[in-house]
Amino acid sequence: MNVETFKYDNRIVRAFAIATVIWGIVGMSVGMLAAVELFFPGANLNVQFITFGRIRPLHTNAVIFAFVGNGMFMGIYYSLQRLCKARMFSDFISWFHFWGWQSIIVAAAITLPLGYTTSKEYAELEWPIKIAIAVVWVAFTVNLLGTILKRREKHMYVAIWFYIATALTVAVLHVTNSMTMPAGWFKSYSMYAGVQDALVQWWYGHNAVAFFLTTPYLGLMYYFLPKAANRPIFSYRLSIIHFWALIFIYIWAGPHHLLYTALPDWAQSLGMVFSLMLIAPSWGGMLNGLLTLRGAWDKVRQDPVLKFMVVAVTAYGMATLEGPVLAIKSVNSLSHYTDWTIAHAHSGALGWNGFLTFSMLYYLFPRLYKTELWSIRLANWHFWTGLLGIVFYVVPIYIAGVTEGLMWKQFNKDGFLQYPNFLETIVQVVPMFELRAVGGTLYIAGVLMMAYNLYRTAKAGEFEPETEAQAAPLERTPILLHGELSWHRMLEGKPVLFTVLAVVAILIGGIVEVVPMYLVKENVPTITSVTPYSPLELLGRDIYIREGCLGCHSQMIRPFRSETERYGEYSKAGEFVYDHPFLWGSERKGPDLAREGGKYPAAWHYNHMDDPRSTSPGSIMPRYSWLLTQNLEMDGLPWRLCAMRRVGVPYPAGYENGPAQADVKAQATEIVTDLKEGGINADPDKEIIALIAYLQRLGVDIKSAPEEDTAKY
């Protein structure tokens, strides 16, 4: 039998491992700052770049795509080579992937604080970066599939299946949700509007959780857990069922993020049913992981790697039970918009993703550096500190979430809202926010211990850049020979770069060209009194997006009496037909703003933005005093109006060349006059004027509609 000798690439694994640790610390620290700002609004030092609305997306992007992303690549590059008995397909692509991904992260860390955001959760990065993500992701996919094609082990272990599903699905999700119309270099408007945009976004958003945070990590669990325990997986058969059932069901569950919103009922029910079905495969996977350890619990007591894994898999089980429960409409009516969602997300993220990443790092560093872990004691300290950190994070936030939900819905015995002032409900949970920061501090302290431990381990050992291995080449059956070898030849015969570029071209073509105009022909019932935003309102809306207001304020009143009493008429699908992107939000740290227009005079908004605590004592909203001094940027207006027209908003032809600017001036003057009545002398060309224009417009269209018109929708 002829045996081939080859080398596994450990350098790329180490690179991703170091990136994982660094970005983990950065991402979690930004989260810490965001957490502190929620009970101490002055923590941003009145600097716009680190205000909550801008660093919240920075935190989510950093921990998901930088920390977990690099962790995923680290684990895949290590395990895939060993499972396939082959070096990675191309060293060039490996390093292109690595540096490409790090550049995207750096670009995110620069653009998000500057306020360049699409506002779509976990997809905030603006269009040039979105294209870069597509390119790098395709490179990763080519590298993954190429390695699988040249594998020496005929059987593809279950972990590989999870990796393939991840690569393919993330590509489809990213492209579909990234359909935007550029309106300048770092500004774009979603192709989809209102309800449609919401549906696409949460179809993407949920599957980002499913196929970025879950499936790759399940694959990693199926590799690293048996390896660390040195026992085969409890049931290989179950793992096969787990895989296929999970990926088939997951992709449909997205609409559970939009329960009781203006999304059509049938879509909501569909999302809820599929979410409930997800319990079965998820728990199958969790039990498969935990049962692998049966008879090996003595090892768990000694080995920190296994300790972290046990908590990770348990957290996965808890989160995947809780998720479907939250997707039940009646539970969701209480939990939606509250901190319950945050607690759910963090029990999954800190427990499942965080702890599994730590276990992989503790597993890999001694092996990459051919030595023992520097200190098992310190790793145990990390374990307990991290675990306490999770408890101190999620328990207060669960309490906060349920408290908010109950207080928002509470009526007194006369039938009035018990807590008509939204602020009361937030002041109530501020102590919980403070406790959460304690949990976060503990968790980060644990990560720092790990970083030091890994550093000392690396110091003590000697890095092995390549591991030599031997295996027989793949025996091919005659049928496979034809199909696979031809692929193989094509990929090897032509320059690798060609393959990458070809697929990239297809993807970019998709983003730029395959966006058919029929996409935006609205089928949502139009309400005649709903008209496009005036240019000044549009600019104000862009400021609202830039500042990340939607991180704390929803614009979607659900059809419950507790909401209509508090905020006004519930939101209708037809009200959002010109909303590119939709701004429904998913969180209420402040009141809903869907019917904010006309509730307060312009002067109130002016003072409130300058210092929220001057109008609302106890408010946790940050100051936005820079809006009072910064001039409204008017140069981009024609671009923005044109882009809006292209996605289907009926601004008349030529409107952007003169008439729009005149309208801006006229409306700004009106607002300045309003402000003067409130005793404020303001400049008409400041940003605050545009924001006030937008806020005063919110939800007013439907009020001017004739009675019988609104009754229809």
Binding site: V3, H155, P226, I247, W252, A469, A471, V524
Partner: protein, 60 residues
């Protein structure tokens, strides 16, 4: 709600890709043995695996 068509198409594309992968995996014998793969991945030294008997013909 025309966008639901895009989403269904995108979801079905992914779904069909997976059905195809599933059919391929069953046909090519990926699941004919559900015991050894779980053991084999534990072997750190690749030299061990080549000693495992590998049937020359397609297993029946």
């Amino acid at each position: 709600m025309s966008v639901i068509i895009i989403l269904i198409l995108a979801s079905l594309t992914v779904g069909l890709l997976f059905v195809g992968a599933f059919i391929w995996s069953v046909r090519s014998g990926q699941y004919e043995d559900t015991v050894t793969p779980a053991m084999r991945m534990l072997a750190e030294d690749p030299a061990q695996t080549i000693c495992k008997p590998k049937s020359k013909d397609k297993p029946t």
